[in-house]
């Protein structure tokens, strides 16, 4: 295959079918390994990368020349009694060492510089790509999983591109170079010494595959221990409440023992392999001294060659051991690379269509036209839904859990595209406008009021970073958040923890409202929070809704039927269809689904 691939270009012109298959197979292998793709990230830094490879070659050559210099020093200097040669050799030795020092510096620094640049670029690319992925991706993958791609996997890769590449190149070069030097010095003795190589290489191959397997198991089992502990600590209150301490201790013991046992396997493997390589190295010394010694006795060889041989022996046993270690790093990194590229290969399905135009300033008329949608194409959640919300109106979506209210919101905000039909704003199909321009005029306040770590000010300003502190305070006052914010220890500068810890649900909701108001969108979609908040905040929130809805088109998903009174019109969603629409009084009088929902809901309350 190798010869075939040498003869044909990448386009395979003039190649036989047979050769083409070989070439393709090679390409396939390369694709599997993702190396080419990884190399593309190194391309912008190719000059420095090339320079660092040159430096590596210099490092290896200078290292390998040392035993040779020793040989010259012994044979032509000491043995011949020639002080001039001895001094020349010493000067040469110092010079070579100095070059080695310089080249090592250049090599180590440049390799890391290039490697870390690749890692940085890849991390940014991955992050930027994740920003484009559909929300579907985020609901399918757990947060920890995605974060792990951006951190652990990238870090594993960082190891490969900095230390791994250097180790691979220098060790391979050293190994080959040492053998070449042996043959130059004396091919008889070289052959005799290398006769142990098949044993060493065989042992290395066996060890490499077995230990790769064992280390994979070790990683898996330590992950089990870690996952078990993580979960037990998170759930420790339940554990204690249900007196499961002993059972849990036993479960950890099992995971822990399983990890210990498989780790012992790696101890046994390397406990046999590394001493074996040392044994073979000793065998090499025995061959050099015994056989080489007899050659010296026969005047066929000089003593200096013998000493140099012993020096070179280390130069090919060390690289072999290093390379066998490298295989584990390589495997782990490749697994990481594959996961990273799998994310990069996930198509962002909400990209702007080619030719998408910025949405002009809109009045805010919303329309759903014969929309059919399902998270999986085969099981529609919405069936041919059509409705229009005139600009400036407030509409409430009402329905049981799972009726499709939240899905409607996701389509209106273009978190998803419909499979059939269209969503339009002022007559523009959402798919024909750029996502950015749409978001500037349409905002969603989600059920869960998420706050970022940072000050309250930053959190409100998130919607419009250019806003000044006065703007922020103004909107905070309007939604009724100003009072409690100023009462916080550092006022607007108070740091909130990720997720909004430290503030009550109601307070977070109000900050989230202020944020939306600051964005001042033409269309506002509010998914009402289900979890209850204290009475005080509840009243504030409802008052704030009034402010929020005025002067813009608003769609509210009403979980509490108390909020429907803020709506001009109610749309009743049932089983993916709009079954009724009208005002509260109209719908209640009709005695349909709404009346049913309302009575049910009221019964809950009346149970007092």
């Amino acid at each position: 295959m190798a010869t075939a691939s040498r003869n044909v270009g990448p386009h395979g012109r003039g190649a036989t079918v047979e050769e083409l298959r070989g070439w393709r197979a090679f390409l396939h292998l390369a694709r599997e390994l993702r190396l080419a793709r990884l190399a593309r990230f190194a391309y912008p830094y190719r000059r420095r990368a090339l320079l660092s490879v040159v430096a590596m070659v210099v490092v290896v050559l200078t290292s390998l020349s040392v035993p040779y210099l020793v040989k010259v020093g012994i044979d032509r200097g000491i043995d011949a009694g020639d002080l001039r040669v001895l001094d020349l050799v010493i000067v040469a030795f110092i010079a070579v060492s100095a070059v080695n020092l310089g080249a090592s510096y250049v090599q180590t620094y440049l390799t890391s510089w290039v490697g870390e640049h690749v890692v940085l670029d890849l991390r940014r690319t991955l992050f930027a790509h994740i920003q484009k992925l559909s929300l579907d991706f985020f609901s399918r993958q757990k947060t920890g999983w995605i974060v792990s791609r951006l951190t652990n996997d990238i870090d594993a890769l960082s190891q490969l591109v900095t230390e791994g590449v250097t180790s691979l190149v220098t060790n391979s070069l050293t190994f080959i170079g040492a053998i070449v030097f042996l043959f130059i010095l004396d091919w008889h003795l070289a052959l005799a010494t290398l006769s142990i190589m098949p044993l060493v290489i065989g042992a290395t191959l066996v060890f490499r595959t077995r230990s790769a397997r064992a280390y994979a198991l070790v990683r898996e089992r330590i992950a089990n221990v870690s996952a078990h502990l993580q979960e037990s600590i998170s759930g420790v209150r339940v554990l204690k409440a249900f007196r499961r301490e002993d059972a849990d201790r036993a479960a950890l013991d099992r995971a822990n023992a399983a990890y210990r046992d498989v780790n012992m396997r790696t101890v046994v493997q390397s406990g046999l392999y590394f001493p074996f390589v040392e044994l073979m190295s000793a065998a090499g010394v025995v061959i050099v001294l015994w056989y080489g010694g007899s050659l010296v006795s026969d005047q066929a060889l000089k003593i200096g060659v013998l000493v140099a041989f012993i020096g070179y022996l280390a130069s090919f046993f060390d690289p072999l051991q290093q390379l066998s270690q490298l295989y584990n790093t390589f495997q782990a990194s490749m697994a990481a690379v594959q996961k990273i590229f799998a994310v990069l290969d996930t198509e962002p399905d909400m990209l702007d269509a080619p030719g998408a135009v910025p949405l002009p300033d809109v009045a805010g008329e919303l329309e759903l036209r014969d929309v059919t949608f399902g998270y999986e194409a085969t099981t529609p959640v919405l069936h041919e839904v059509s409705f229009t919300v005139p600009a400036g109106r407030t509409v409430a979506l009402v329905g049981a859990t799972g009726a499709g209210k939240s899905t409607l919101v996701k389509l209106l905000a273009r978190f998803y595209d419909p499979q059939q039909g269209a969503v339009l704003i002022d007559g523009h199909d959402l798919r024909d406008v750029t996502a950015r321009s749409l978001r500037e005029q349409l905002a969603v306040v989600p059920q869960e009021a998420f706050l970022f770590s940072g000050s309250v000010l930053d959190n409100i300003r998130f919607a419009r970073p250019s806003a000044d502190a006065e703007d922020v305070k103004r909107v905070a006052r309007i939604v009724g958040a100003h009072d409690f914010v100023t009462a916080l220890p550092d006022g607007y500068e108070t740091e909130v923890q990720e997720g909004g810890g430290g503030l009550s649900t109601g307070q977070r909701q109000l900050i989230s409202f202020a944020r939306a108001l600051l964005a001042d969108p033409r269309v506002l979609i509010l998914d009402e929070a289900t979890s209850s908040v204290d009475a005080e905040s509840e009243r504030r929130i409802e008052r704030a809704m009034d402010v929020l809805f005025s002067g813009r088109t608003s769609v509210i998903v009403a979980h509490r039927l108390s909020t429907v009174r803020y709506a001009d019109e109610i749309l009743v969603v049932d089983d993916g269809r709009i079954v009724e629409r009208g005002t509260h009084d109209e719908l209640f009088a009709t005695g349909g689904r709404y009346a049913e929902l309302y009575r049910e809901w009221e019964a809950t309350g009346r149970a007092l």
């Binding site: 020092l101 920003q131 502990l229 101890v267």
Partner: protein, 591 residues
């Protein structure tokens, strides 16, 4: 110093393996020291001296040493490996067993991440040091001394010339490790910042999209990634400077040796074999000197890790069971609070609470966020101990009872129903491991969970929790209720069991509750009037005190705090949810 002694004492449990490891390591080192001597003899006597018949014997001797070293090295690796893995295993089990004895307050104080990193990476640092570091450290020191002695004994002038590099090398390696450590720490810290940024972005991804702030987020992430890059390159620069230097310094010694020793050989003061042996011994000195800095780092990390581990192991157990704790095989379920006060880290939460609940009675605990209602309920199963007064179950102070017996009679449904990554059946069975399949199903049915569970593809065998099938809040709550029910407890504590579910589900859960509360003493911590209505008696708490108690109607008529809280809701006819709620995040923490 104390820590290193304590860590080292851990080897005591593997005394014989440790002793064997040391003996073997020294034997291995001793054999290594023989090799240059044999090479020297080979050169001087067999090759230069012309006694070529000796070649065979020297060859055999070298082969013998090689084989012996192989055997010893295998044995050494197995013994120290076994001991260190054993220590890691013991230490982790011991740490977790100790943590499990700590009360709730301990876990309120310690973040999960802290406990995790101590149980995982800190323990593995200690293992590395004990299994590898100590032996290596000892062997390397002895090796350096032994080689130095051999060199001085062979030719003290030559020895002094060639050993001159040793202090320089030690200084360089020591400085290297001292300069690199803080940079590596910095890299770790900056990686943690990147992780935090990534995590937050992903959790808050919807908000980012809604306000089209992707570019800002990318800029923030890029900036933090760049900081990692800068620190990593700084680390690389330090390595690039020192690692080649550490290799270079011994080369100067070799140059000196060749220059001085070569002349001596030519003058006939020493033999060529001696020079080669000298050279080989010198090489044996280089490696220990190079790694000693690294080993010191390993020891420092192990000590720091040991400190962190012992901080947890030494933390006093604040709520141990009394030695003479009384069993409670049967209980009626009468609960009484007598002048109970409770402070949480100097913040008073409960103040002189008196409350008597006869067996079988259902009581609703009501009040604003932070009024102490969850805390009050948590005192019954001794999740926390009172700061003053006492809590009685069937007339026994809970602190006098066996903890296991006390909790056996109390079923708890917490605010955030935590499920383990196990099958639904196993999760429900947590309440009573010996429960039969029928009993599990019956409990699920009573909690209105049977229907949705059987609709799942794998029914009761469906794995849920963090690493399993994602259930809705309402579904998890119903499973938590089933888990409490399968215990058939005399006392039931329902903490905000119906928050964050929709109206229909709440209706069903409430129906379930009516059924399960029958014949049990029940505390309901409630926020919705509909749930409060299940109780025979309502206890209103405010600022850690009971301000009102009585039936719902009585309290409404009385026009006090309770009427104020719910009167508004009544008037607005729709505002039924307008009732205070506890923060739903922390499961069972003190309110």
């Amino acid at each position: 110093m104390r820590t290193i002694w304590r860590i080292t004492k851990l080897l005591g449990d593997y005394k014989w393996l440790t002793v064997a490891g040391f003996v073997l390591a020294f034997a291995q080192m001793g054999l290594s020291l023989v090799v240059p001597r044999i090479i020297q003899l080979t050169i001087d006597r067999a090759l230069i001296g012309g006694e070529s018949g000796l070649l065979r014997w020297y060859g055999l001797a070298l082969a013998g040493v090689g084989v012996a070293r192989f055997g010893i090295a295998v044995a050494r690796r197995l013994t120290t490996g076994k001991a260190s893995l054993g220590i890691e295993y013991d230490l982790r089990n011991r740490l977790w067993a100790r943590l499990l004895r700590q009360p709730f307050a301990f876990f309120d104080h310690w973040p999960t991440g802290q406990l995790m990193s101590r149980a995982m990476s800190d323990i593995s640092n200690v293992r590395m040091f004990l299994g590898y570091g100590i032996v290596f450290f000892a062997v390397n020191i002895v090796m350096m001394v032994a080689v130095a002695v051999i060199l001085l004994a062979t030719d003290w002038r030559l020895a002094l010339v060639s050993l001159a590099f040793l202090p320089a090398l030690l200084v360089v390696t020591w400085r290297f490790s001292r300069r690199l450590q803080p940079i590596l720490k910095d890299v770790q810290q900056r990686i943690a910042d990147v992780t935090a940024a990534a995590e937050e972005n992903i959790v808050g991804t919807r908000i980012v999209r809604i306000f089209a702030r992707e570019d800002d987020e990318l800029a923030k992430f890029s900036e933090r990634s760049t900081r990692v890059f800068e620190a990593s390159v700084a680390a690389a620069r330090t390595r690039a400077l020192y690692i080649p230097l550490i290799a270079f310094v011994p080369n100067l010694a070799i140059a000196l040796l060749l220059w001085y020793g070569g002349r001596q050989v030519i003058q006939g003061d020493i033999t060529l074999g001696e020079l080669v042996a000298f050279y080989t011994y010198l090489m044996m000195l280089v490696f220990p000197a190079q790694v000693i800095g690294w080993l010191t780092g390993l020891a420092q990390r192990a000590i720091a890790s040991g400190d962190r581990i012992y901080e947890l192991l030494d933390a006093p157990l604040e709520m141990e069971e009394r030695a003479d704790a009384a069993p409670l095989p049967q209980a009626d379920g009468a609960v009484a609070f007598e002048g109970v006060s409770f402070s949480y880290v100097d913040r008073p939460v409960l103040d002189d609470v008196h409350l008597e609940v006869p067996a079988g009675r259902t009581v609703a605990l009501v009040g604003h966020t932070g009024c102490g209602k969850t805390t009050l309920a948590n005192l019954v199963p001794r999740f926390y101990d009172v700061s003053g007064g006492r809590v009685l179950v069937d007339g026994h102070d809970v602190r006098d009872l066996k903890l296991d017996d006390l909790r056996r009679h109390i079923g708890v449904v917490t605010q955030d129903p935590f499920l383990f990554s196990a099958s639904i059946a196993e999760n429900i069975r947590a309440g009573r491991p010996e429960a039969s399949d029928e009993e599990v199903r019956a409990a699920a049915a009573a909690a209105q969970a049977d229907e949705f569970v059987t609709a799942l593809p794998e029914g009761y065998e469906t794995v849920v929790g963090e690493r399993g099938f994602t259930l809705s809040g309402g579904q998890r709550q119903r499973l938590a209720i089933a888990r409490a029910l399968v215990m058939d407890p005399r006392i039931l504590i329902l903490d905000d069991a119906t928050s964050s579910v929709d109206v229909e589900t709440e209706f069903r859960i409430r129906e379930a509750l009516v059924e399960v509360m029958k014949g049990r003493t029940t505390f309901i911590i409630a926020h919705r009037p509909s749930t409060i209505s299940l109780a025979e008696e309502v206890v209103v708490l405010d600022h850690g005190r009971i301000v009102e108690r009585g039936a719902h109607d009585e309290l409404m008529a009385a026009g006090g705090t309770y009427a104020q809280m719910f009167g508004d809701a009544e008037a607005q006819h729709c505002d039924l949810d307008a009732v205070p709620v506890e923060k739903p995040a922390a499961a069972g923490g003190p309110a």
